[in-house]
Symmetry: C2
Subunit: 344 residues, 2 copies
DNA sequence: CGATCTTGTACTATCGTTTGTACACCGTCG
DNA sequence: CGACGGTGTACAAACGATAGTACAAGATCG
C-alpha cells in the first residue's frame, strides 16, 4: 500500500475515516469488517467509499479497543523454559504460524523452569486477557496447572506432558524404546543413560522407554549409570564425566536424551580417550540440524517440533470452542548415523 | 496470594470491587493506582478497604482497557529473523528482561529475513499499538526502516546495524580484526572467510574487519575464498565445500562469522581429510555455549547477547521519552581454543 | 393508492479504565 | 457565627470499536 499519512503521532481512527467518507462510524465499522449475521450491511457503494477513505488515510484497526468491546483479545500466551533452547524455539515457531493462520496473535515468556516465574508470567498474560495458554514448561512442581484448571483458564501442554491435561508431545516412550532397540541390535551390553532434568517428562519418559525395552531384553543398567542433569552441553559433559567416574569398565554405548547434552558428552568422552563412533556409541534426541553436520554425525531421534506447536494451537482452539480434546502423541523417528553405527 | 474467586469465565472488574468496598469506581481506581499529581487521593482508610476487597475478589487490572484510556500499551515489539537462532533468542531474553524491569511487556515475531514478512509483522504489532519496535533483522532490502521513520514510529536496531539509525550491536569490525590478528600471530598465510549472508551487517562487518587487518599486514585473500551463505550448520558446510573446491592448496586457517556455520565447516573439513586444530585452524563467532564443549573446542568471539538486548531496550525507552540516543557498540572478546591454537 | 416489507443508515449504549470537575463535608479563622 | 479553604468522594465523559435498535426511504403487494 502506498498510503500512509503524515508523521503525526496520533493514529487514524474509525471516526476519521467516517468523516472522510461522509458516513457514520457505525457504517464505517460495518463496511470494513461487519457482516455479522443479522446486522444490516452497508450498500456496496458505501462500502467502497469507506474502504477507499480507509486506504487513503492509512487506517488500521485498534485491536485493543475492538477487543474491549467484543471481549476477544485474539491473543494466545505461551510459557517456555527458555527461548534460547532450540527445541522450544522451534515449537514456538509452529505455534506462531498456526495461531496466525487462525487469526490469533501470540505472546511468549521465559520462565527458566522456576515455579514462581511461571506463575508470575501466566498472571501477566491473563491480565492482558489472553484467551488461552500453551504451557511448554509443565512440571509437577508448583501446582500451577491445577490452579489454572480451577480458575477455568483454557490451556494445553506442549513438549512435556503431565497429569491428564491435553497435551501435544512427541511419543517419548516410543523414542526411548527405539533407541534401546537400536543399541540392542548392535549387541551392546554396558550402557549409560544421561536422563536430563528429573522434572521434565521429556527426559524421564525417554529414559523410561529405554529402560523398559532394555530390561525386557534381559539386560540391566546399574543405577549409577542413569544420571540426571541439565539439557545443555555443559550439563551433558558433567553427566558424562560422572558416569565415567563410576567403577567398572566404561559403557560401550550412551543414550543422551538431548542432542546438546550429547555434544557435551562427546567432549567428555574424547577427554577420556574414547572416540565416539569407534570406542563408544552415542545417541542423542531431538535431531537438531547441527547433529547431522557434526564432524562425527550424531545419531538422534527426530521430533516433529513445528508440528507439535501447530498441534498445540489446534487443541487450544478446540477447547476455546467448547471442545474437550484428548492429547496427541506425535511419532518420533530414529536416525542412525556414524556416532552409533557400530557394535561394542 | 491465596485469593482467586470461583471458576467463572468473567473476570473481576473494578466495578465489582467498588461495589464490594462500598465506594465509587473512581475511588477504587485511585486507591489501587492513582495518585497522579493533582488528583484527589482517597483517604488511607478507604484505600485500605479497597485493597482488601481487591485481594479478596482476586482483582487484576485489565491492561487493554486501561491502555485504551491512557493511550499507553506498555508494549514493545521485536522482529527477529528466527527465534530458533540461538543468538537472537538470547538477545530477546535480554530484551524481555530489561523491558519487564521497566514495566513493559514484549512481543516478538519471526520474519525469516523476508521483507514482506517484516513489513506484515511490523504492521500487526503497530495495530496492537506497541509503543516502539526493536528490529533484529535489519537489512538494506525492503526499505522498512525508512518507512517507519517517515511515519514517526519509534524504533531501534539490535544485532545488525544499518543506516544512521540508533542500534545496539557488537563491535563486529573489531571482532573481525581480532580474529585476523590472532591468525596472523600464528603465522597463517592462506586463509578463507565464510562470510554469512551478504545482507546482514554482522557477517559483512566481521568480514570487513578481518580483511582490513589482514591486508594491512600485507597479505591477501583471493576473492573465491570469501564465500557467502546461510548462518547455520548446513550453510557452513556448503560454504566450506565450495572453498575446498577452489584451485590451489587448501587454506591453513578459516574464519567463519557464525559458530553454527563453523561447526558445519568442521564436518566438511573432516570429510576432506583435514583435522581441525591440527591441519587447519578454525575460528567461529558468537561463542555459543556449545563451542567450548565440542570434542575439539572451537575458538570463537564472545558477543554480549543479553547485554545487547538490554541496551536496545534502554535506547528505545530513551527515544520514547523524547531523547535522541546514539548507537552503542559492545566490545567483543576473542577466546582462543584448541581449534585454532596452532600455526600453519 | 395505502399498507407492509425491505434495505440502508445513524443513534446510542457499552466494554473496563482513567481523569477533569463538581460537590459535600469538615474545621478554622476573622 | 458565616465565609472560606482543604479534603475526600462521586458523577460523567472520554479512549476506539461494535452491536442492538430505531428510523427513513424506496420497493412491493393487495
Amino acid at each position: 500500500m502506498p498510503t500512509t499519512s503524515g508523521g503525526s503521532p496520533r493514529r487514524v481512527t474509525l471516526r476519521d475515516i467516517a468523516r472522510e467518507a461522509g458516513v457514520s462510524v457505525t457504517s464505517a465499522s460495518r463496511a470494513l469488517h461487519g457482516v455479522t449475521g443479522s446486522a444490516r450491511a452497508p450498500s456496496a457503494e458505501t462500502a467502497a467509499r469507506v474502504r477507499e477513505a480507509a486506504a487513503r488515510l492509512g487506517y488500521s484497526r485498534d485491536q485493543l479497543a475492538g477487543g474491549l468491546r467484543t471481549r476477544r483479545s485474539r491473543l494466545l500466551g505461551m510459557l517456555v523454559p527458555r527461548l534460547s533452547d532450540y527445541v522450544l524455539a522451534t515449537i514456538y515457531e509452529g505455534v506462531e504460524e498456526e495461531a496466525g493462520r487462525a487469526g490469533y496473535r501470540t505472546v511468549v515468556a521465559n520462565t527458566h523452569d522456576d515455579p514462581d516465574e511461571q506463575r508470575a508470567r501466566a498472571e501477566v498474560m491473563l491480565d492482558h486477557r489472553v484467551e488461552g495458554l500453551i504451557i511448554g514448561d509443565a512440571s509437577p512442581r508448583g501446582g500451577l496447572l491445577a490452579d489454572l484448571e480451577r480458575r477455568g483458564v483454557p490451556f494445553v501442554l506442549v513438549s512435556r506432558r503431565g497429569g491428564a491435561f491435553p497435551a501435544a508431545t512427541g511419543d517419548d516412550l516410543a523414542g526411548g524404546r527405539a533407541v534401546a532397540g537400536h543399541l540392542l541390535d548392535r549387541g551392546h551390553e554396558r550402557v549409560a543413560v544421561l536422563a536430563g532434568e528429573a522434572y521434565a517428562s521429556t527426559g524421564s519418559e525417554r529414559t523410561a522407554g529405554f529402560l523398559e525395552r532394555w530390561t525386557a531384553a534381559g539386560r540391566t543398567v546399574p543405577p549409577d549409570r542413569v544420571v540426571h542433569g541439565p539439557f545443555d552441553a555443559a550439563g551433558g559433559r558433567r553427566a558424562m564425566e560422572r558416569v565415567l567416574e563410576t567403577p567398572g569398565p566404561p559403557p560401550t554405548a550412551v543414550f543422551v536424551v538431548n542432542d546438546f547434552a550429547a555434544i557435551g558428552a562427546m567432549g567428555a568422552l574424547r577427554d577420556a580417550g574414547l572416540q565416539v563412533g569407534r570406542d563408544v556409541a552415542l545417541v542423542g534426541y531431538n535431531d537438531v540440524p547441527l547433529s547431522a553436520e557434526l564432524p562425527i554425525p550424531l545419531s538422534s531421534v527426530t521430533t516433529p517440533n513445528l508440528e507439535m506447536g501447530r498441534t498445540a494451537v489446534r487443541l487450544l482452539l478446540d477447547i476455546l470452542e467448547g471442545g474437550r480434546p484428548g492429547s496427541v502423541l506425535l511419532p518420533p523417528r530414529l536416525r542412525v548415523r556414524a556416532s552409533s553405527d557400530l557394535g561394542p
